[in-house]
Amino acid sequence: MQLVLDDEQRQLRSAVRDLLADHNDVRSVVDGDARYDRGLWRRMAELGLTGLVVPEELGGAGAGHVERCVVLEELGRALAAVPFLASAVLAADALTALGDTEVLPALAAGEQVGAVALSGVTATERDGGWVLDGCAPFVLSGDVAEVFVVHTPAGWFVTAEGHRRALTTLDPTRGQAKLEFSAAPARRLEHADPGAVLERVRDLAAVALAAEQVGGIAKVLDTIVGYAKVRVQFGRAIGSYQAVKHACAELYSTSERAGSLLRYAAWAADHDPDALPLAAATAQAFTGPAYFRAAATGLQLHGGIGYTWEHDAHLYYKRAKSSELLFGTPAEQWARLADRLERVP
């Protein structure tokens, strides 16, 4: 078990951090009309980040989940408005697990954006092919995706034919759409155990989201600690008040523990598949609510300035609440963890 990044992983982290320092433009999405940060996405593709864990023979970088989590932490830190979680995590993981070779190279190269619909859709065989019907109500980045990977009771499919309606979202940095299929032609992705693929996709997504959340917590912590050192009220820096200092200390403790759960889960994804389900559920159940608490605390400790549109505190608040509910409510995450615990021998 490896809980500390090696030199190469640290280099990756600083490369991504530099990239984001120069090219991250969240405000073009929050304040402008862009649905995602295309400039940043293109540069990420050029660096091979969009296909990080995709095998090299399929156009990816063949790296591990630890590396991908390093990238996700940075994306979460910077609130990057790119469809990485949908395309380079959910869709790429599903297609990788399903052994697809047709769509994956385009996703890995960042030429196409993928999204995944996990429920609400059924598939029927017709004229030697397959068609999809139904409605997936909440598809992450479904508003910008060009290709959809769809899970149905009859297995997995890929299609570009869905009708989408972009939803309004709490988090202005990440879109969702309602996807409707009506006799939409789709290609079937054969697999002996489609249910196992679904579980693997969900586990990896839980870890990936936790990585973003851990990055967000770290950024919230850095920002508020910096501010608490310079903001003076009653003749003292506010960080000298126990009410503020202890809240920062709690945040730090949360950040360290969530980061540790994450490192283990990412390591398990690469090296110990049997341990992944429990590790992923633990990381997500712990980190989801922790990030929202952290973001709300960070905003609170900024006072009035934190409540303004101009300050980024609200973007973290909205991202954190949204992420906390993205793959199920906290109650559902804890229930998932409880189930996993019962399965441990």
Binding site: T168, G304, W309
Partner: protein, 390 residues
Amino acid sequence: MTGFREKVRAWLAANVPGDEELATAKRFQAALHDAGLAGITWPTEYGGQGLTAAEQQIFDQEAAHYDLPTSVFRIGMGMCGPTILDLGTAGQKARYIRPLLRGEEIWCQLFSEPGAGSDVASLQTRAVRDGDSWVVNGQKVWTTVAHLADFGALLARTDPDVPKHQGLTMFLIDMHAPGVTVRPLTDMTGRAPFNEVYFADLRLPAGAVLGQVGGGWPAAVTMLGHERVSIGGFVRIRHDPLAHANLAETARRYGRDRDPVVRVELAKLYAAERALALFNARLRQEAEAGSPPGARGSVAKLAGAQLRQQAVAVAGLIAGPHAIAWDPDDAAGDELALAINQTPSSSIAGGTDQIQRTIIGDRILGLPREPVADRDVPFRELRVGTQRPA
């Protein structure tokens, strides 16, 4: 009492308008006053109804079933008006109270500055005496409804050579006077309910002083006391998506009402909501019997903010994915998101949660205060905000 309740009920049913346009709001407030339902506990001499907390409570209970379009009057009704009644001269009361109650004039509270929020007594806006008048220069921030306000209660420094609490004076100012510039600020919900307000050689007559020259701090404490009670006691059930009754309804709509976790969390929320509502009612009855709430308003203010946070968590459990993404045509989605996004303001505006806890500890429980760095130092020598005073 039943007569009063029936009257309130019938009047509200017939008169509450559907929109929150300013003109509608003003017409509604005037009608409310004409009906004898504005300023229920305020003295009749200045346009109030001279009734008791019991009638006020009946009104609040009945009004909770509606969305009254009166939010632009809240600072005037909840804070400036009561403070003028406490501290104003007969002339000031005669001039300001009736138009305020009738919704003819809107008020704002000009306390906070970029460098002085929690520590509002360290504010830097100066009012310098010039013969019979005062000349004001400086900047305020986070001033709710300043862009619509006709008058404001301004806290300014009139003597920088004494410790910070002693050199302040409260003024009643005309927001349309030359020398006042208002710039709206966008909040995290994307709306602009508050403002920056700049003063450049604003001239005030001697009669603009509320209370005593140099008595700005006690005047501010009086107003903040009213503010806390007013914020803590503000209940809006009908369209508040975070109210227990509405969340319970949402749970039924999404088929989550039999979920054991949701049931327990809703029950906890109900208990917290009732505890606060009844605490507020008790404060009002005590005030009626002659003991004003004083610092206990901070309990209501803090508990109110915590209740919002608790409700946001419960809303997430109930609405799940619907809380974070919804069809653009679905107004319920917009309303819930707005409520989630407004929640942080409850813990900041009107004094932060941290400050309320300190007030409860210091002023109610009499616990020893933290050592203070700046109490006896002349204001001139202090470091404030993220800058040094001019």
